[in-house]
C-alpha cells in the first residue's frame, strides 16, 4: 500500500453560503478521490444539521495561497485618505462655519 493509495486521495477545500445574502465562507478541507465524492463527503461531513444555501468544492492544488513570507510582507500600511476615519476633522470645521454664521446673524434654520 502504496502508491496507489497515496495518489488516491486529493485535498479539497469546502466553501459554503448559509443564506443567499451572505458571503461564501471557508468551511474546512477534506480528502476525496474525485470532485463528485468530495461533494458527497462535504455534505456528510459539514452539513448534517446546519442550513446551507450553496456549496463550493475547490481542489486545493488549484488555489494560489500566500506564502508566509508574502503574508509577513503584506502588513497593513496606514492609508487614512482611503477611509472615512481619515476625515474626522470635518465636523469641527463645519461647527466653525456655523459659529461664524451665528455671530453675523445670517444663519439658516
Amino acid at each position: 500500500m502504496t502508491d496507489s493509495v497515496h495518489r488516491f486521495y486529493e485535498e479539497y477545500e469546502v466553501f459554503s453560503r448559509k443564506k443567499g445574502d451572505l458571503p461564501l465562507e471557508h468551511r474546512f478541507s477534506l480528502l476525496a478521490p474525485n470532485m463528485e465524492m468530495a461533494m458527497i463527503l462535504a455534505k456528510e461531513n459539514f452539513f448534517r444539521r446546519e442550513p446551507v444555501a450553496d456549496l463550493w468544492i475547490v481542489k486545493r492544488s488549484d488555489i494560489r495561497k500566500m506564502t508566509q513570507s508574502e503574508r509577513e510582507a503584506f502588513g497593513r500600511l496606514e492609508k487614512p485618505y482611503r477611509e472615512t476615519r481619515g476625515y474626522g476633522d470635518l465636523n469641527e470645521r463645519w461647527r466653525a462655519f456655523k459659529a461664524r454664521a451665528g455671530e453675523s446673524g445670517d444663519a439658516g434654520p
Binding site: M1, S4, V5, H6, R7, F8, Y9, F28, S29, L30, L31, P33, N34, M37, L41, E44, N45, F46, R48, R49, K65, T67, Q68, S69, E72, A73
Partner: protein, 323 residues
Amino acid sequence: MAAAVPFEQWTAEEKYGHFMRRIENGEKIEADDWMPDDYRKALIRLITMHGISEIMGAFPEKEWVPKAPTLRRKLAIMAKVQDEMGHGQLLLRVAEDLVKPCGKTREDILQDLFAKRLKFHNVFHMPSPTWADAAVIAWLVDGAAILSQTMMLKTSYGPYGRALKRICQEESFHAKHGESLTLSLAEGTPAQRRMLQEAIDRWWEPLLMFFGPKTKEATGHTNVDKNLKYKLRTKTNEELRQEFLSKYVPKIRLLGLAIPDPTLRYDDEKGEWIYREPDWNKFKQIVTGNGPKTDERLRLRRTSYENGRWVREALAQWKAAAV
C-alpha cells in the same frame, strides 16, 4: 524604513523568536507557517490521538444502535455515532496537513493505529454491556470531553481551533442526548435504576483517568508543560478533573445515585475535591493497547478498512479512466 529581509532569509533563531511572539500575542499559527519541530510534534501527538479517539469512541456506542429501545433513541444514537466519525474526519484532516511535510498520509496514521503505535483515550477501550452504559458514555464521557475540548478552543493552532469549534457545537447535542437517556433511567423502575447505578460504578474510575495523571512525576514526561508553553492548552489535567467533579458530582447525587468512592468529598479549605486516585498502572496498561476491548475494536476497525478496499480501488480505477 530599511528594506525588510524576506522571511525565508531569517535565521532559525529569528524565526523562533518571531514564532514565540506570535504565540504570546494570541495569533493563530497556520499549517504552512514556519513552526519549531517540537511544536509540530506536540500537535501531531495531540491531534492524531484526539482524531483516532473520536473514531474509536464510536465503537462502544455503535453496539447499541441495533438495540436502542425506541425509534427516536435509535435515530439519536445513530446521529451521535455519525458525528463522532465526522469529528474523526475533521481532526485527521488537520493531522494530515501536519504530517505531510514528513512525507506521511492518512494511511500511515491508520497503520499506526492498527499496530498500536498510536494511543487513544482510555475510556474507548472499555466495554459497554448495557443501555445504561450508552447513557453514561453520552452524558459523562462526552461531558468530560467537552470540558477538555472547550479548554482548547483558543489553542494557538488555527486549524485545530476551527475544528474544535465545530466539534464542540455537536458535542453539546451529545451531552443533552446523554442527559436525556440518564434521566429516563433514573426516573424508571428499580431495575432500570440499578442498571444505571452499575454503569456509574463501571465508569467512575475510567472517567477520573480520562483527564490523565496529576503530575509529571506520574506521567514521566512533560507534554502538558509544552502544551501550556505553546498555548495549545490552558489548563492542567488536574484542573480539568476538578472542574468535572464540581460539575457532575452534585448532579449524580441529585439523582440519588452513589459514587463508588467513599473518600470523595469537597475540601472547603483547600477549595478542591479529594478523591481516591485511580490505578494509574492500569491506566498505562489500557492506553498502551491492553484494555478489555482494545483488540476486538481494533480488529473491527481493521476489518471495515479492509472491507472498504474494493470501493477505494473501484473509485481509483474510475478516476484513472476519467483522466
